[in-house]
């Protein structure tokens, strides 16, 4: 199995029955990217909007893939502190997501936030969202991930497994970002969306707050049991 196959494995899992598992993060990422888009759309012209979304998608993919692969590669020494403290890290992730959700809710209401609303800040927030989503995501195991985990969990093959898991995570991220950007390109300039931009942006912020609370309080298991179980 090569890196290309792993990217394809991650990418294709997004558009298959395994989307059920990815629903742990996909609606929340879409809420994030739509939220920052709608927070920006009134201020910037179209060509710039693309730049404002493209770089955040790249930083999200990097943050997610690096930490996701480290958590999969449990045979690596560097992964052990992460896995050992995963409970605490999920709480910290929840707190970071909480602040990102508040940022989306408040960016157009507080002038200070409006001033710091730049592509650099959004890229940094996306990087953080990528890292936190990797920490909160506990996937069910697709056939390809099964092979990767088998390699990554044993100490003598952990580096190879980490490499494959990185590309697999990147494949998932690419599919997620493509879907989100396609959604924005398709619906983002619709009259009804622009008319209700503030309302939709606020809903996006609230969706992130819900994810934050679920991670901080441990309610995520119920989201998986009831929401993902209902889809299945």
């Amino acid at each position: 199995m090569g890196g290309g196959a792993a990217v394809w494995g991650g990418f294709s899992s997004f558009f298959s029955i395994w989307q059920v598992c990815i629903l742990q993060i996909s609606p929340f990422f879409i809420a994030f990217i739509v939220g920052i888009y709608l927070a920006t759309v009134g201020k910037k012209a179209d060509p710039e909007i693309r730049r404002w979304l493209l770089i955040p998608c790249i930083t999200y993919g990097i943050g997610f893939s690096v930490f996701y692969s480290l958590l999969i590669a449990s045979g690596l020494n560097i992964s052990r502190p992460l896995i050992h403290n995963i409970g605490l890290l999920r709480v910290v992730s929840g707190i970071i997501i909480l602040f990102v959700g508040l940022y989306i809710l408040l960016v157009n209401r507080i002038s200070f936030l409006g001033k710091i609303h730049t592509p650099l800040l959004l890229s940094t927030l996306s990087l953080l969202i990528g890292v936190t989503f990797a920490l909160v995501y506990s996937p069910c195991i697709t056939p390809m991930l099964s092979d990767i985990m088998g390699i990554a969990s044993q100490r003598n093959t952990a580096v190879e497994g980490w490499y494959m898991a990185f590309w697999y995570g990147l494949g998932v991220s690419i599919a997620l970002c493509m879907t989100s950007v396609a959604l924005i390109l398709f619906a983002g300039r619709q009259e009804i969306v622009l008319r209700n931009a503030n309302l939709i942006k606020n809903i996006c912020g609230i969706i992130l707050l819900i994810l934050a609370v679920m991670n901080i309080t441990g309610l995520m298991r119920h989201y998986k049991a009831f929401v993902l179980g209902f889809v299945l």
Partner: protein, 171 residues
């Protein structure tokens, strides 16, 4: 809304969530390695009985961590039932542990599939954390001396030949 009020509100929410987070803090281990000794556990089974590792001493143990919402867990159930039927008279015990789930949903899952071997809900995913299981389904093959001989991640029904081989290794 001015900045000071916003800051105060954020601090209040932050304090509340830090307080709430005390309920969910957990320590996890990396995935149990092949050759390691299986860790002791106590699991409350669906029927109310207690199950623990010590009671399986001298027998092979297939312990599988599953979730009702996971497609792989559902897909592997017919195979697991079939394997149990085939080996129930051997010195091998099958045990299912429900993780990352609500108790009610896991109990529905056990009922839906008519799981014929012992199954219990892992409250707070404590056993999963001890065994380093982060994703369902994960299956461990533990020999009669309590040593992990194999760990498999994913749909075990995809590996029927290997499964038989791994059972032989724990007998």
């Amino acid at each position: 809304m001015n900045l000071i009020n916003c800051y105060k509100n954020c601090c209040a929410i932050f304090s509340l969530l830090v307080f709430l987070s005390g309920c969910s803090e957990e320590i996890s281990r990396p995935l149990l390695q092949v050759g390691e000794k299986a860790l002791p556990f106590t699991l409350e089974l669906i029927d109310g009985k207690q199950s623990n590792l010590e009671q399986y001493a001298g027998k092979g143990l297939v312990i599988t961590f599953m979730s009702s919402w996971c497609p792989c867990s559902n897909e592997s159930m017919p195979f697991m039932k079939q394997a149990y039927s085939k080996h129930k008279n051997d010195q091998i015990v099958f045990l299912m542990v429900g993780i990352q789930n609500s108790r009610s949903k896991f109990e529905e899952f056990v009922e839906k599939w008519g799981v014929p071997f012992p199954a219990g809900y892992d409250k707070g995913d404590r056993i999963a954390k001890d065994y380093g299981v982060s994703s369902p389904p994960t299956t461990f093959f533990i020999d009669k001396n309590g040593i992990v001989k194999r760990a498999f991640y994913g749909n075990i029904a995809k590996k029927p030949d290997e499964f038989q081989q791994w059972l032989k290794e724990i007998l």
